[in-house]
């Protein structure tokens, strides 16, 4: 069975029921609209409005979901020596996200958050974190075009306050 999703720019996407269910938000909406996998009439006569996602972003989300629709629910690995729970981005996901410029990554992250697709959300947040990891402050500032509004005194204070951190 298929489900119709309608984006903010009125583009209709017809997706497999399993893909629609990957989004907690869509899942809840289908439930509220009494749309059921076994009731074709309910699926045909209804569409799910997604006013916070544009068609360009939706297409990327669906591409990701298509790839991951048969995935088993993943346990987050505790593989960091510091004990933080980290998310491992698969090779396919790295490839999928590598050409997205930062603005598009942000859009995708926002959409994954709104649609409640945790796997995609984790992939993007970890990808951005990986872009930052190991870089010096000035490199990060240049990469993300970060405007520094701190005074010299404030910068000095930050350096003083963070001097305790050894790595």
């Amino acid at each position: 069975p298929n489900v119709k999703l309608v984006t903010s720019d009125n583009e209709e996407f017809v997706v497999d029921f399993r893909i629609a269910k990957m989004s907690v938000t869509v899942s809840r909406l289908m439930e509220a609209m009494n749309m059921s996998e076994t009731d074709d009439a309910s699926l045909l006569s209804n569409s799910i409005p997604l006013p916070n996602v544009t068609k360009a972003v939706m297409a990327r989300v669906i591409e990701w979901c298509e790839k991951h629709k048969n995935d088993e629910p993943k346990e987050e690995k505790e593989n960091d020596k510091r004990g933080r729970t980290t998310h491992v981005v698969s090779d396919w996901d790295k490839e999928f996200l590598k050409n997205d410029e930062f603005g598009r990554l942000c859009q995708l992250m926002g959409a994954a958050n709104y649609l409640e697709i945790k796997g995609l959300f984790n992939d993007i947040s970890q990808t951005i974190a990986n872009m930052i990891h190991g870089k010096k402050s000035d490199e990060i500032a240049e990469m993300f075009n970060i405007h520094c509004d701190l005074t010299e005194a404030e910068k000095k204070e930050i350096r003083k306050k963070t001097a305790w951190c050894e790595d």
Binding site: R84, Y114, K118, I140
Partner: protein, 132 residues
């Protein structure tokens, strides 16, 4: 009384973010606005930056304190360090090393903001722990 602050494995898991995070980011037309964007992090709301920061080790987090906004977000963001060694290099300075080592003073299963770690470093909280 401080037992209440010790986090179990389950509590730590539950402290991870739960979607959706609350913000009104989606109305933003990123592609349009990004053309004149001075700062790429302006594309992300605080809540999402906070999630990105939570994926970073302390040194990277601190390197991200590049402006007032990022500094404020970073200060409030939690870090999920399970073990750390507190070492004293001179009588007035207490440093924290974020590796699992066999040091005498090891605090386990705790989750605090960087500000809290800073308090550890300045020895305020360390004294409390010592007296448990």
């Amino acid at each position: 009384a401080r037992q209440g602050n010790l986090l179990t494995e389950e509590q730590l898991k539950n402290q991870r973010f739960k979607l959706p995070l609350d913000h009104n980011y989606y109305q933003m037309e990123v592609e349009e606005s990004s053309k004149s964007m001075k700062d790429y992090f302006d594309l992300l709301p605080n809540e999402l930056i906070s999630v990105v920061i939570s994926n970073l080790p302390p040194k990277d987090r601190l390197n991200l304190r590049l402006n007032k906004r990022l500094q404020a977000i970073e200060v409030e963001a939690k870090d999920y360090t399970r073990k750390m060694a507190i070492t004293r290099s001179d009588p007035d300075v207490c440093k924290i090393k974020f590796t699992i080592v066999d040091a005498q003073e090891i605090v386990t299963e705790r989750s605090h903001s960087i500000r809290r770690f800073s308090q550890f470093a300045s020895n305020q909280v360390y004294k409390e722990i010592s007296s448990e």
